[in-house]
Symmetry: C2
């Protein structure tokens, strides 16, 4: 049936695009038609970009970021403060922090969180190499910028305990009311944290 | 800023994917990270599929469908009933009808609808070649399967008038209550059509 719609090559492209997060079968079809209509402006450049990605994108052996160079752009950036290391769960989190442009530090991507139910143990994360970096590099503070989820916080505690012997200062992100957040929609934990850490106006 | 997040090659891929309908900058980033994580299962096959698309996908010179062959798979399909021609606005509509698998006919893609406001006139559509096909091919019925929009119906009337001299029978899709549709949510035009064309139970 599927192959009756168009040639198998088009169907294959639709099926592959449909596997991207955010795209389903229908939107993948629309995307393919859009690509074909905009062959020169979009299809061709996208083909080039994806070929480059396939050939050149690698994981950074230092921090776990993905880039076209190893060490990655960030690890090679001499202007970064070498005394602060920001630990994140995923590359997506690293990019989110970079987009915010608040930090001039380097990163360490854990590659996930401890999750016994999903069979994710310490050895599945880059915890060992984090300890090594804490010992070897000129790091004075390690910020555990993990998600405020149960798994995230459990992982943070586990990592903090292992980092203790290194003597490096370990910090975590503050809890509180998100900017623009309405108290009415916040959970009690967040409200409690926001109250507890209230500051003078 | 953008290039600080990762190498320019990755940013370029993100920006291109973000231009696909259904994907924004954020979901494009997620998609790229997903592609990189699934290099062998997804990134590589997608690169191949897009390269094939770039090199081989063409518009069918007969019906306007897009395919890797010209004439397209459907126009070359000898099992198709040559006496029925289904006129659609876009390739997406053609594919939608094919997916439904209700027809064994051939198609003619208009490439849009008449829309003076958007500067779309008869010469911007494939109306001339439709008339030619109506004259030349062994067609007995032309189904105007255009959208039930004002522009769609205006275009249908215009095309029907031009087809009249060819003597070919011109039909249109029926209006009525969509399957699963609730009367409460239907416009008066649809209800009127559904009542007018009511059938014996």
């Amino acid at each position: 049936m599927a192959e009756r719609v168009a040639g198998p090559e088009i169907e294959r492209l639709v099926q592959l695009l449909a596997r991207l997060p955010g795209l389903g079968p229908r939107s993948a079809r629309r995307a393919v038609l859009h690509l074909i209509r905009k062959r020169e402006e979009l299809l061709s450049p996208l083909a080039d970009a994806i070929n480059v990605a396939r050939e050149r994108i690698v994981a950074c052996s230092v921090c776990g970021n993905v880039d076209t160079s190893d060490p990655c752009t960030i690890c090679r950036d001499a202007r970064r403060d070498p005394s602060i290391l920001v630990v994140v769960e995923t590359v997506a989190d690293l990019w989110a922090l970079e987009r915010a442009g608040l930090l001039n530090a380097r990163y360490h991507v854990l590659g996930g969180v401890l999750s016994p139910l999903d069979g994710v143990g310490p050895d599945d994360l880059t915890i060992a190499s984090l300890i090594e970096r804490a010992r070897g590099e000129e790091i004075r503070e390690i910020v555990l910028a993990v998600n405020a989820t149960v798994d995230g916080q459990t992982t943070a505690h586990y990592v903090a305990d292992l980092l203790a012997p290194t003597g490096v200062k370990v910090t975590r992100l503050a809890h509180g009311v998100p900017v623009g957040g309405e108290l009415d929609y916040l959970d009690e934990g967040t409200l409690a944290a926001a109250l507890e850490r209230r500051t003078v106006f």
